[in-house]
Symmetry: C2
Subunit: 387 residues, 2 copies
């Protein structure tokens, strides 16, 4: 007999005081986005499957829980990513000609965890900028991502930049076919130099060396300088390196590095890609980048760049939140007491009514003070241990 309280694998409650800490972080992030002009949207938990699994999001198919809709007889998907929903709203509902900035926060659901320590219900918080193809939009998104990570107070934070356009330009330059490009992609992600060389045996030596070089091109600005010397000087390659230089320059003293074989966004992203790490975790706490053409399936393809993070994963990197302290108040009908309680709550205090028979459980209440009747009225006193 499996106990009723058992939760499915990789599915978790958030208990007090963690849930409140996550709520406060959610608020700080949404307020940060709001201050930068990102308008909050709340897309639904479920949509018709075709709406969720559009174009760039096809890789989400296996990740998406499917249910039958009794009202329409069609399949619904529970959202596994809110980015396509934001793109739909930009393309179809808002339909603005200029730049549209959107942000969102909410749970998404996945059939399988992304890794051993991952969960199947990330709380996705993100910001997306639609309608601008220039590097200025990527610069804004990078600055916002860095600000979000600072707001979260993440320890040992660092940002790693890559460029999905760089790999695409090299595939085109070298004349790699799709199958071969996919194998090369896999080898580069593993930084597997011998495999890269093996896959490149039929290529022009210039391109073979260039692919091999990618596996070594990571680090600070010097990696970009070296890339300029090592990689073929095609227009698209130089454009990608220029983009990365602009981003590194703008980051100033933030810990930003590049990794030219970090191709995580390939297939979804098509320009700059960003991955943020923190707290010594190997898995990125935030992912972002450029994905031009977003919303095309909804009738209007638009340039797009943005990022999102998982609030649960960020909470894992932070110190245990402090429990909220409170004030116990007696359960009495007294106008002066009621007034005092109201004042304290208005001032941000938690005031808990001690219901009849609860004195024995004061230790569980989380309260460190009590409202007591004195000669002058109702006064705050430290809680006396029960004898």
């Amino acid at each position: 007999m499996i106990p009723a309280w058992l939760l499915p694998e990789y599915i978790e409650d958030i208990l007090p005081p963690y849930a409140r800490a996550a709520e406060e972080l959610r608020r700080r992030l949404l307020d940060l986005f709001d201050g930068h002009g990102y308008e909050l949207i709340t897309p639904p938990l479920v949509e018709y499957l075709e709406s969720l699994l559009t174009g760039a999001a096809r890789e989400l198919d296996l990740q998406t829980f499917k249910v039958m809709d009794g009202l329409s007889g069609r399949m619904l998907g529970v959202r596994a990513d809110m980015t396509p929903q934001a793109a739909r709203m930009d393309a179809h509902l808002l339909n603005r000609q200029g730049v549209t900035r959107l942000c969102y926060a909410g749970p998404v659901l996945r059939t399988r965890p992304a890794g051993m320590l991952a969960r199947r219900e990330p709380i996705q918080v993100g910001a997306e900028l639609f309608g601008h193809a220039g590097i200025e939009a990527d610069l804004e998104i990078q600055a916002l991502l860095l600000a979000a990570l600072r707001v979260a107070g993440l320890p040992d934070m660092r940002l790693s930049l890559g460029h999905a356009g760089l790999f695409r330009a090299m595939v085109a330059g070298a004349g790699l076919e799709i199958r071969a490009a996919e194998s090369m992609f896999a080898a580069l992600r593993q930084k597997d130099g011998p495999e890269v060389l093996a896959l490149g045996t039929d290529l022009d030596p210039v391109w073979r060396e260039a692919f091999l070089a990618l596996t070594e091109l990571y680090g600070g600005r010097e990696a970009l300088d070296q890339a300029r010397h090592t990689l073929p000087r095609t227009r698209d390659i130089h454009q990608a390196l220029d983009d990365l230089s602009r981003l590194m320059d703008a980051a100033k003293d933030a810990p930003v590095s590049v990794d030219l074989s970090d191709l995580r966004g390939h297939g979804y992203h098509n320009g700059v890609v960003m991955a943020a790490y923190a707290g010594g975790q190997a898995r990125a706490v935030a992912l972002g980048g450029r994905y031009d053409g977003a919303g095309g399936v909804f009738g209007r393809g638009r340039p797009a760049t943005g990022f999102s993070l998982d609030l649960r994963q960020i909470m894992d990197c932070l110190a245990e939140p402090e429990a909220r302290r409170g004030i116990l108040a007696p359960c009495e009908e007294d106008a002066a007491l009621r007034c005092r309680i109201e004042q304290l709550r208005q001032a941000g205090e938690r005031v808990v009514i001690e219901l009849p028979g609860q004195q024995a459980f004061r230790g569980e209440s989380g309260c460190d003070r009590v409202l007591a009747r004195t000669a002058t009225g109702w006064d705050l006193q430290p809680i006396q241990p029960i004898s």
Copy 2:
């Protein structure tokens, strides 16, 4: 060909500025609960079906979307109500001996809308008090519900009280069998007097008249007085009427009435039940009441009372929110500009960078001021119409 942007029936996006207004209401409600000692929990979107459809929540079976869990081969349900999840956390995880106060806010999903104007994805915000069987706990919940409705700023708000224990006491007193009780329940909910009389033909005339009287016993305090004269004087019936009197007295000048044939909570609730109405809507915006025995299936049955509301439905009752105004700032690298922007954002302003090429779309930006370079630095100016 069905367009990709089409949403399923009774499923909706929340667009700007409504999503931000809903977020701000969510915050005010959670802060209200927090100030009263209700600790925030975040239960998961999905659980094993048996955990969601426990005891009192069996009626939710038809309302719950089911999916197969590929990791366990077991059925999962997408939560249609967060109350059983709160009861699980109280009973099993927190496991306190004294009173436990919990609150929550999040989307739930239902296979069918509750009515013509309902939606299938309510945003449920609620507060639950576990571990206290006394009327004092119901009084606290009623006060908190009234405070929540005030915080929401609902127009034409009123609270209707009923008592599931009253009907149970009458069923027991009259010796009604389960089938007959179910028919009586249905007739009473419809306030169908002739049907009530017909169902009561075999009953003692005292009880038949008592059931009939229920259909007329609604309104203010006079309805309770009349109930005391009309209904049989059993202990449980008088206890129920005393409970309702206490609640009406405590509500003071809040618009609270009773309806003794409002049995919506029957089967789920077993004491006082509460339904709040607003904005002239026929459907309640908040529902609550006592449901003792909660959590029993998780190993520990506890007294429980609480309420929840649907943020989407409450938004329907409120006036259209104002769009957030902002300040446009030029996309320039200038230390003084950057500093000014930071100051304005810290002061709560929305400052939107005007990316290159966006001047033509100023009308879409929602901004009414612009940061302009003057002899003295960067100053705020009203936006000039584009010539």
